[in-house]
């Protein structure tokens, strides 16, 4: 592992979250491990249905019930395993120590409550001692996420705001109780590009100001390049490669990471054809044996179809799960 002297905020070990459906067991997350340090931003990257959102929901124990279940693993947060906690304790952790920003600000705000009520809710719940000056706290939070005229905005409703502003309000809610860990699930996907840039800048500022550990879930390598320190690439429920952000872009080792980076058009780079990965990701209800990427991989060998590769440590904090690593050594 990388020699990171900062304390570990979250240590996920071999997390498994399955969905029991009528059409079989969907292994949405199948043995995911990662560490997150204080002040660090980890990007969890992958295509839809690779398990990145379910990983995030597992961390705050909000996996959709009753079909979804965390069937194995450990999640050590501040020295304690979140999986062993009773639901009552989890309620005190959610919003206070671990906060979350969801993808769509249109649906994550309640249309019938004012902004002040909603941003104030976590404060009211977690810090009852601050109830008296709750509105002052809310205004302060809105100011921190750069909402113009916060004194007026606290009395308004979500429909009176634009998409970018709503996402800022969601961010204000998330940081209102100064959490140690912030999970952002595709925070900018529904926003326009110039508004996206504003929000990413805000997230970067929050990180440096409050030493927040962040887990950002995204499919966009552009966002990764902007805000992440380290990247974990997911495919079919597993992390296939982890490295710091420079290494991922400079020398990705897993064929999937290479293909994913190569398939994105770059501004200014003139290429006639994009690198494309043939086929599509496997159905999580029927993941093929061996490496799930093997059917789409141009360098697949016989062993890839038989056994899932062990994790190979390549360099400082650079982990790869691919049989090609064995061949090279």
């Amino acid at each position: 592992m990388a020699q990171d002297s900062r304390p570990v905020v979250l240590d996920v070990k071999d997390l498994k979250t399955y969905f029991y459906t009528r059409r079989g067991i969907a292994k949405a997350v199948d043995g995911v491990s990662f560490q997150l340090h204080q002040g660090e931003t980890l990007g969890l990257v992958g295509e839809s249905a690779c398990g990145k959102s379910v990983t995030a929901l597992s961390v705050i124990r909000l996996v959709p019930q009753p079909s979804g279940r965390i069937v194995g693993g450990e999640m050590i947060f501040q020295g304690e395993d979140l999986l062993q906690k009773p639901e009552r304790d989890m309620r005190n952790i959610r919003g206070k120590q671990i906060a979350m920003i969801l993808q769509d600000p249109m649906t994550s705000l309640d249309p019938v409550f004012t902004i002040g009520d909603q941003v104030g809710e976590p404060i009211r719940f977690h810090q009852p001692e601050n109830r008296k000056n709750i509105m002052e706290r809310v205004v302060e939070m809105l100011r921190a996420v750069k909402i113009p005229a916060p004194e007026i905005r606290v009395r308004e409703y979500p429909h009176q705001m634009s998409g970018g502003m709503r996402q800022r309000i969601v961010a204000a809610m998330a940081i209102s109780c100064t959490p140690q860990l912030l999970i952002a699930d595709e925070p900018t996907t529904s926003l326009d590009v110039t508004i996206q840039a504003q929000l990413l800048k805000l997230l970067n500022e929050l990180k440096t100001q409050s030493k927040l550990a962040m887990l950002i879930i995204t499919h966009d390598f552009g966002i990764v390049a902007r805000v992440c320190d380290r990247v974990a690439v997911m495919y079919a429920g597993r992390i296939v490669e982890t490295a710091d952000v420079r290494t991922i872009f400079k020398s990705p080792l897993h064929p999937y990471t290479q293909a994913l980076i190569g398939s994105v058009p770059k501004v200014g780079a003139r290429v006639e054809r994009l690198f494309s990965i043939e086929g599509q990701p496997p159905d999580v209800r029927a993941i093929p044996p061996g490496c799930p990427f093997a059917p789409r991989c141009s360098q697949a060998m016989d062993i890839c179809r038989e056994k899932y590769p062990e994790t190979t440590v390549v360099g400082d904090g650079h982990l790869v799960n691919c049989w090609l690593m064995d061949k090279k050594n």
């Binding site: 590009v193 420079r246 994913l260 980076i261 058009p265 990701p281």
Partner: protein, 330 residues
């Protein structure tokens, strides 16, 4: 359909002149009075050469989709002309209009809603053929099979329903339907933004291959500057119903002039953390097209705005051959 080499023949296929679309805003139930207008498109000029791609990029609400709809004759313009092969499409009637409908086709953003879930793929692809051409059932079936092969769908695809396909494959069905009548021009409205990253490249490569093979002309509408640049020969940048800048794809990147284009470029996030560039993060949001700001529409957000910008509206001027910009800085 002639097999072309994809190089522009230098002939203009589509020309748009001073195109305007205002949607009236009315008040009152019976006695409706017009109280304003949403200026969705407010004076846009561009032309597309045969066999080339013109890309239009902008944020939501900038009028790019409305422009596409007018080119498809799904909306009538308030003012201005759209010339297709030299003829104004809004004056077309009878057989002329019929052939235009076949010559211009569309691929939309969301292949989940643009394909009827109750129709088999064979029926979806053959519908334009059945409506417009007098072919026997066998000929239709053969043509459908040919189209399915062209877009790289499995051979058994015609007998299946859209829900049996993934997003990328559905978009291939939409492309096959668009190709059914051998069109000259295809309007691509956000053709890849609903797709997964690894599938986007497949569809973009397919569109490029088809363009080379059949000498197609594309009018591409997208919000992602990287996608537009990759696909297009020339690019127009829209802001609040007007073109801010228009140039060839390479020129636009190498000699970016308009501050809005610079901001878009900067926001088209460098996909490499080592490449740092001048970072421009705009403040504020796109104003309402109901009441656009006076002068230059971009001035309230522009980091370089000066007095003149809030008073006088800049005109689109040719700064260097083929590079047009609407900005008082130049």
């Amino acid at each position: 359909m002639a097999e072309g080499n994809g190089k522009g023949s230098g002939k203009v296929l589509l020309e748009v002149r001073n195109l305007v679309k205002h949607f009236p805003v009315t008040r009152g139930l019976i006695l409706q009075r017009q109280v304003g207008a949403v200026k969705a498109v407010d004076g846009v000029d561009f032309s597309v050469q045969r066999g080339e791609t013109f890309g239009m990029v902008g944020e939501s609400g900038c009028g790019k989709t409305t422009t596409g709809k007018m080119v498809l004759l799904l909306e009538r313009p308030t003012r201005g002309e759209i010339l297709f092969e030299g003829k104004d499409i809004n004056t077309l009637k009878g057989p002329g209009l019929r052939s235009f409908r076949g010559d211009v086709q569309a691929v939309f953003q969301d292949p989940y809603s643009s394909l009827s879930p109750r129709m088999k793929v064979a029926d979806i692809i053959s519908e334009p053929i059945v409506v417009n051409q007098n072919l026997s059932r066998r000929e239709v079936r053969e043509r459908v099979q040919e189209l399915v092969d062209i877009v790289g769908l499995p051979r058994e695809a015609p007998e299946l329903y859209p829900h049996e396909f993934s997003g990328g494959q559905r978009q291939r069905i939409a492309v096959a339907r668009a190709l059914a009548l051998n069109p000259d021009l295809i309007v691509l409205d956000e053709p890849v933004s609903a797709l997964d990253v690894s599938i986007r490249a497949q569809v973009m490569n397919l569109l490029k291959d088809l363009q080379n093979r059949f000498n197609l002309t594309y009018f591409l509408i997208a919000h992602d500057l990287a996608v537009v640049q990759h696909m297009s020969n020339s690019v127009g940048v829209m802001y609040l119903g007007k073109l801010a800048e228009r140039a060839s794809s390479d020129e636009l990147y190498l000699n970016t002039l308009h501050p809005y284009t610079k901001a878009l470029l900067s926001a088209a996030l460098p996909a490499d953390p080592e490449v740092s560039r001048e970072e421009i993060i705009l403040t504020g949001e796109v104003p309402s097209p109901l009441n656009p700001p006076p002068g230059c529409r971009f001035h309230p957000r522009c980091p370089f705005a000066f007095d003149r910008c809030s008073v006088e509206e800049p005109q689109l001027k040719e700064k260097s051959p083929g590079h047009w910009v609407a900005c008082h800085l130049y």
